[in-house]
């Protein structure tokens, strides 16, 4: 299966390991990723704060590139990009006038045909799950994780149409299928504070502390995520949160793609596990 691939900026920077691990596991799962030629910024938070038209045109430009390449599905791992691309598609679908305007702006007769997919959506198809199961090389059953989806993947439900928006299960299902012990908890879709990390970090610390507390209380050793910003907040701010709230947890934050890679027997290096702030080495040496 060939998909167009839109990595977005963070997968080239803060979430490099997401990019690496995703690219490493895709061949095992029979998936070929073809990076969008000339993809541009999705606009993320700033564009839709500034101009509605801009916030739709930026993703439309990248989606038009996919159309040009003749592919009709694009994989977008970053939750923010995913949300922006999906929102643009949704809005264009519901407004022919907007589509007309945007086509003028991007100077291309845009058809808005490209389906925007998150890796979780592709991986939870039964074929891929079957392949994943067949390729298990390492027993991860001693690894206890909670799956953290964050807010952007599922909301707004009308636009995102993702899994079950209040209580998503796709990551849980994928990880339990590869043998990880997945625990139930209460903070799957709570906010991590997102970009407030830069402006009001105390809010982020409070929110992530709630998340860590519950994850630890249900017995998790680690948290699996599918969003770059969630990863950044949970991973890089953990030390700080511990200090502020006088806590002692030590919860490595994995991209779910890294855990798939581990199960498939890939090395820590291949999956870039060493680039995390909270080192998973101790945990992994205990359970694998």
């Amino acid at each position: 299966m060939i998909y167009s691939y839109y990595p977005g900026c963070s997968l080239d920077g803060t979430a490099k390991e997401y990019n690496l691990s995703l690219k490493a596991i895709c061949p095992v799962l029979g998936i070929e990723l073809k990076e969008v030629k000339d993809w541009i910024c999705c606009g993320a938070t700033s564009a839709h704060q500034t101009s509605h038209l801009l916030s739709v045109s930026l993703p439309a430009k990248s989606l038009a590139e996919v159309e040009k390449e003749g592919l009709d599905e694009v994989v977008v791992p970053c939750a923010a990009c995913f949300q922006r691309l999906k929102t643009a598609r949704y809005e264009l679908e519901n407004s022919p006038e907007l589509l007309k305007d945007v086509s003028v702006i991007i100077d291309y007769p845009f058809e808005n045909k490209v389906k925007v997919l998150h890796p979780l959506e592709i991986f939870s198809s039964s074929n891929v799950l079957e392949l994943a199961k067949r390729n298990i090389k390492k027993d991860l059953s001693k690894l206890k994780v909670v799956c953290y989806y964050g807010c952007l993947l599922t909301r707004p439900p009308k636009v995102m149409q993702f899994d079950n928006y209040e209580y998503p299960l796709s990551m849980d299902e994928i990880l339990s299928r590869i043998g990880v012990t997945v625990l139930d908890w209460s903070y799957k879709t709570d906010c991590c504070g997102a970009s407030l990390a830069l402006t009001k970090s105390e809010i982020v610390l409070r929110l992530i502390n709630n998340i860590f507390e519950n994850a630890e209380a249900v017995g998790a050793d680690a948290i699996a995520v599918g969003c770059t910003l969630c990863h950044t907040n949970l991973d890089t701010r953990q030390e700080e949160a511990k200090k502020v709230y006088n806590k002692n947890y030590n919860l490595p934050i994995f991209f779910f793609t890294q855990l798939l890679g581990l199960a498939f027997g890939m090395s820590a290096k291949e999956l870039s596990l060493h680039t995390h702030f909270v080192s998973p080495d101790k945990l992994l040496s205990k359970i694998i």
């Binding site: 079950n164 209040e166 209580y167 139930d184 908890w185 209460s186 903070y187 519950n214 209380a217 249900v218 017995g219």
Partner: protein, 1503 residues
Amino acid sequence: MTANNKKIGSAMVVGGGIGGMQAALDLAESGIKVYLVENKPCIGGVMSQLDKTFPTNDCAMCTMSPRLVEIGRHKDIEIITLSDVENIEGEPGNFKVTLKKKARYIDEARCTGCSECQDVCPIEISDEYNMNLINAKAVYRLYPQAIPNTFAIKKLGQAPCRFSCPIGQRAEGYIALIRGKRYEDAYRTIRRDNPFPSVCGRVCVHPCEKACTRGEVDEPVSIMRLKRFVADWVYEHNPDLKGLEEEYPPLFSEKIAVIGSGSSGLTCAYDLVKRGYSVTVFEAEDKAGGMMALSIPAYRLPKDILEGEINLIKKAGVKLKTNSKVTELNSLKADFNAIYLAIGCQKNQSLRIEGEDLEGVMPGLDFLKEVNRGREVKLGEKVAVIGGGNVAMDSVRTALRLGAKEAFIVYRRSRAEMPASEEEIQEVEEEGIKIHFLSAPNRIKGVDGKVDKLECVKMELGPPDDTGRRRPIRIEGSEFTIDVDNVIAAIGQVPDTTYLKDQVEITTFGTLKVDSETLETTSAGIFAGGDVVSGPATVVEAIASGHKAADRIDKFLRGEEVKEEEIEFTKVELSEEEIKRKIKSKEKRQKPKSLPVDKRKANFEEVHQVYTEEEAIAEANRCLECGICSECLMCVEACKAEAIDHSMPKEELLELDVGAVILAPGYEIFDANLKQELGYDRYQNVITALEFERILSASGPFQGKILRPSDNSHPKRIAFIQCVGSREVDRNYCSSVCCMYATKEAIIAKEHEPDIECTIFFIDLRAFGKGFDAYYERAKELGIRYIRCRPSSIKEVPQTKNLKIQYQAEDGEIKVEEFDLVSLSTGLQPPKSAKDLSEKFGIKLNEHNFCYTSPFSPVSSTRDGIYVCGPFTEPKDIPESVMQASGAASKALSLLKDVKGSLITPKEYPPEIDVTGQEPRIGVFVCHCGTNIAAVVDVPSVVEYAKTLANVVHCEDNLYTCSADTCERIKQMIKEHNLNRVIVASCTPRTHEPLFRSTIQEAGLNPYLFEMANIRDQCSWVHMREGELATKKSKDLVRMAVAKARLLEPLYKRKVKINKAALVIGGGLSGMVSALELANQEFDVHLIEREGELGGNLRRIHYLFNGEDPQKELKSLIEKVKGNDKIHLFTSAKIESVEGFFGNFKTRLTVNGERLTEIEHGVIIVATGAKEYKPKEYLYGQDERIITQLELEEKLSTPHSVFRTPQSVVMIQCVGSRDTERPYCSRVCCSEAVKNALKIKEINPDTNVYILYRDIRTYGFRESYYREARDKGVVFLRYEDDKKPEVKIQKSEERSQMSETTEQRTTNNEQRITISLTDPILNTPISIDADLLVLSAGTVADEDANTVAQLLKVPLDQDNFFLEAHMKLRPIDFAADGIFLCGLAHASKSIEESIIQATGAAARASTILNKDEVELEACISEVVDENCDGCAYCIDPCPYDALTLIEYIAKDGTIKKTVERDEAACKGCGVCQATCPKKGIFVRGFKIEQISAQVEAALQPVE
């Protein structure tokens, strides 16, 4: 009308909830035969699960239980349970309905409800009635008061294990019994199908485990090893099998010979002995057991085990002759009536290769036989075994144990094709035995006539052959040789039947030819089965053949035909989800301890040990109980009434002819799982409201203690979350009842444990029913906290399992609070069957998938003759359902008016025996109630004791006195012993007295010559551990009953003729509807209206939500009323007086002030209405721009009215409602405001409309209009009760737009109306200028209500509305018989609701009018005039106003005061008797002498 479409005097009511029950009763009481169809095993619906009911806090079960009993006993109501409608054909008046009835597996006519089956049933399933909070049994009764009061069995079919077993072993059953540590019962369950539990527990090939559903989760349940555990346990603990095995005495003279003592032969012999035949088994070998004894090595099946089980068969009476080879059958025929040949397959197949005759080459079976016979078999060092079956495995392992240095297998295919069982192969591998796969022997080379080398050839696998396995193909040139000392050829066996060839026909394969059905060979009377017919098979298959043979031989000897009459097995296949739900234990398959490999060599010790008890139970817990009922038949053994029948067909179709159908299928509770953010099912302490009802209930899972599920601790902080599954985009309606039930649950919880803190999170508190607001206020006074916020999610604290809820407080602050328990107020959804019913009946559903009805025909579906009621049409509370049910009944009664009474069964009794002057001759019947009484009370000694009492001429004990045959016996005994008094000492008169009364009446005795002693509830139940004392008390109770019985007198019910006319008071919508309904049923109706015109309040309603024009309806209604010659209309009329009682009222009227003659009638319907409150507040009356909603409606519907186009409209809700003077909610004003707001928006979308409210109470489907209003920009602003809006009229600088466009300027039009209020969310004052201020004025009782109440002697409530007999179950009746209530006179309500109640009132009235006469209660009070001195003490306490003080002139001329009793009003409660100091009044059947005699008997010393 032609014969084909003749109307039928019966109706079907679908749904046995509270609505269905009411409809059934109304119909049956009016002469229509009713089929009450319910898909559960009993009627009662959801109400039976409720704890208390709001707003009276009455116990739900106590209120409905008498009604259940009434229906259960009604002669014209037939309850059909476990049934669904399959199809309907025909037309109104004549439908043919097909029902699909699921098997109950218990004969309702025989079952006495004693519950002994339930006690022995091993299968536990979650108890649906108790919302799965605890477990129930597979044989169950939803609740003890259930009607029909019989048990039912939940069975999905046969579990895959049983289904796949050749003998249908009830594995699920014995496994469940293991869980209950009932090993002997488990043993009996196994042995029912299998005479070799221990053998099969060791060596069975267990196809069951391959089929086991658990295998889909992890590994199959170790069914075989559990069987062995049971057998070994029993043989160890009860070696003589006391109580488990017995000798069967012969019943028949016929003798049977069985040839061959293998598993087939012995099974057949054993079965035939059990059936009463003499059986002799002939065995050629010196040991019995066939292949079990000779082919299976001892390390798998120890010899003593087999011998033990064969001995049991001998013990049962089978004669066994060993060393007796039978070759000649004819001579046997002389001594035996039938012969069964089960001689097995004894001959080895040869390898057909060179060198097979060399010394050291042995056939496998011969080899094993020799070893098993205990003979010495010499082997060399290297032994090759050829073959891949079990004989090969046994041979190679035996060789190893005999000391071979190297034993190995040569097999021509790969491992996957090996026919041996997987465990066997694994053990072979475990023991280090090499298997040469894909190798076939080519020849055996010898030296000096002895084996030396085995030459093999390599094979490869080709395409599959006819066995389905891939065919091996030689690879030419791949020969190789192995050094060997012995070659054992184990490639299969064939029958050795040549010696029989002239006696019976033999097939080309050497097997015996038999008829596949009868198993008879070609020679009459000679049967054959097992391996000799089938070729080599398994032990369990041989046992199956033995069973079949025994059955066929029995039939042959009894001359019965062989029919395929076996129960049809249905394999249960569970869905993935069901499997998940059924997993009780997550443990992996238990591995028994086994002998270490190095200890297995050179001995024949059994390899595997038996499970320990702990392991066995752990393994048993892994069973998923696929079929639910396991058919272990424990219940059949326990049922003394012989009511259980597992062979009932799973489903049957019933066809019924009915004239009309009423659909009352109820509702479904919203599946809280769909709101995953609330964590239901994930967080143990998040429960649904109905679960909380069960927790609160004294009959619930915790006996009324409030415990939370996670740890059974007492929760101290309980949160209720409202609107779960209601008032949202997908379910755009309000469920109407949740606010109140949550309030009730909170109140009851606090009553149980006052220190519980209850918090209700709500959006609007919808307390819109009668008395609801007062209830809500009371809840607040009790400290129940109401927080106006809908929490978005619930989080669990993993350590404590407490729940955290984040919400916004009134002051805007975001708070997080922790609770111990959260109850979700789940809404009402259409019943699951709605879509199905809609398709089958061809009726329309509405946009919410409830049944569609229209406002002016709210009880009719879109198909004629099909009527509907209850939450099927809209979410609603109990009284609304009951009203609508009566309404539906009324419609059916109109349709079937000509055929009423045509199908009901008159009950006739023989002429009564005159017992006056006779010496009492008392018969006493003492009941065992199965073991309910007899297990505690010594029943025979009670009987002996009763016999000693004076006047007792007959006494006996019965297993179940209430069973049909015992009732017949009672009648017989009455005749035989000339009994004139009967006593039953059994259970409670509440349920059983009417049955026994009717029984003695059938024998000619007056029914009141009966007395009951409750020795079950009052003796065996309450003193269950003190048998002796309970027996003594039983004797006391019987003695007391006898003492009273001596004094019993015949009593008679007086009959009153019914005047078949009705009086309807009030000519508004309700009165007219009631009158027309009754007129349609051909009754005369006198309709009285005080005004000159009909129509009442409806004259002021001009449009409805759905656009319908009520004025058009009103016009047509008035025409119908005026045009109906059965309706006698009196306008401008007033009632002067009402006399008489139900059945015979006399009413005097004045019309236009002139006196009229009296009207005589049998019933009264009160439909006097109510009116809109005339506001005193908000400057009403001071400005014509300040109007009420009804006034607005009038103006909006007047063309060109200036009021149609205001710029800004403000509406204020709750004007004259919910205040101190009128504390009730007027129910309709919120909807009225929304309706008018939408109208304004429709006329001019730009008009600003503001609705100032306290709670928006758009209940039911009205909610969608509320949403629509919001969508259209109507602004809803809330105000607090203590901060009411303020209205000012101020000089305006500008003219309002309205006045500019208006010619008729008012004097005030330069002044603006300003409304100011404080917005509680923003906590800021707001002021709005309005062109129009509309006051939502409430509904107030009519000023004449009091006069009417006094005339009719019926009560009013505190708000001057009429008070119904019971808030929930009798919302149309008054406590006084024959007077009914409907419309606004009862409480404020919508048009639709008024029509429902009015239609219902007609049905209620009809139950009386349809009878020619009515029987009055016999046990009522009676005044003893000579004792009564008119002190009148009794008059006030009488709850029924049945007593009046009167004076009359006595014979001696003096004025005598006395009390008169109204015989129709008296209910015989006895309060008067208790208050009378002069013995001046008593209740029949409870005379002071009778009670004294009982008391004296109680005090009498007993030796």
